[in-house]
Subunit: 200 residues, 2 copies
């Protein structure tokens, strides 16, 4: 993820990159929740205030470290805005909106990277869990004991959709319209989030 | 996928490997249906009878070329044996049975490889379509116009399950029992195969 450099340069670009590298290592190793900004700062040998100055909140730092082109704090409320019974369809549409956009290239690259690289896989897992799924399930008034399974089931369906549409390019999913995919896959996501978990 | 060799050896191992390499190239480029055994034989500069002698049917050659440890011709009827209404659960259980077995390592390696390599992706797509999905949907008495979409939707859910359970290792899906996953994901596969496509 770090840009290729032909020589060492002093100053900000190296500092920024050191912070991002320290953040990637810490988030992958300890997890997002257990990593304070000051631990990232210490690993990068900078002042915590500089980390905040460059990257904002810990969430922002995480997104920057993973080069994630979307902001779940902004996107997730939009998914949940339309009412509890349409959250499945809306989530499928929102993901397709991101992936089908120019930003989607980075998202698919991240998926590829997570498959071949254990560290990226850990980061992606942390990102899914703490930045997306937690935000979604926190607002749906679900049984807390069921939340982890519901979230992970949603992840299986959404990741599989990304995989078949953008990586394996299996037709007709690869070129289906967002309407078709929202209508067919939306109910699955809806059931995983709010329906009976055994399908009954 | 070819074994590493420290030097050239004459005779059968090279011939077998040439046939497998020719088969991988032909199946990826033209697709399984449009590739006759004799085209593979011609590309490998051997007699078609030798291809049959080494590898059996075209299906067997495809599995050997992809190092696929299972035989869909044997597995798929087992999935379909228990009646139309349990096919979703049974498919999830069957996949988990293969993946959780020693043979599963090869299956997960194939998934990883398909993500990073366009040729393997094409081969996997051909394999899913012609060897697994076609066999499943042919026997379920479905509207032929809906079959490709139904099959591809199943593939999104099954591939996403593999991805989250074995590659990203997202909990609790990573260590859930087959019973839990069959009960929760089985109804999704069932709907994609035989239910109303819009979930209604």
């Amino acid at each position: 993820m770090s840009p290729r450099r032909t020589g060492r340069r002093p100053g900000n670009p190296d500092t920024r990159e050191s912070i991002l590298a320290a953040a990637r290592a810490a988030f992958a190793e300890r997890g997002f929740d257990a990593t304070p900004i000051r631990a990232v700062a210490a690993a990068a040998a900078v002042d915590p205030a500089l980390v905040h100055h460059y990257f904002g909140t810990k969430e922002d730092l995480f997104r920057a470290a993973m080069a994630i082109p979307i902001d779940p704090a902004e996107l997730v409320p939009r998914v949940l805005a339309g009412g509890r019974d349409e959250v499945g369809e809306r989530m499928v549409r929102t993901f397709l909106g991101v992936w089908d956009s120019p930003a989607g290239t980075a998202a698919v690259a991240l998926l590829r990277s997570a498959v071949s690289n254990q560290w990226t896989a850990r980061l992606l897992r942390e990102f899914l869990t703490t930045q997306i799924l937690r935000r979604v399930v926190d607002r749906l008034d679900l049984d807390p004991a069921e939340v982890p399974l519901r979230g992970a089931l949603v992840a299986t369906q959404i990741a599989g959709l990304a995989m078949m549409r953008y990586v394996i390019r299996l037709e007709p999913v690869a070129s289906a319209t967002p309407d078709t995919l929202a209508a067919t896959i939306g109910p699955t996501v809806q059931r995983y989030l709010t329906g009976p978990l055994d399908g009954g």
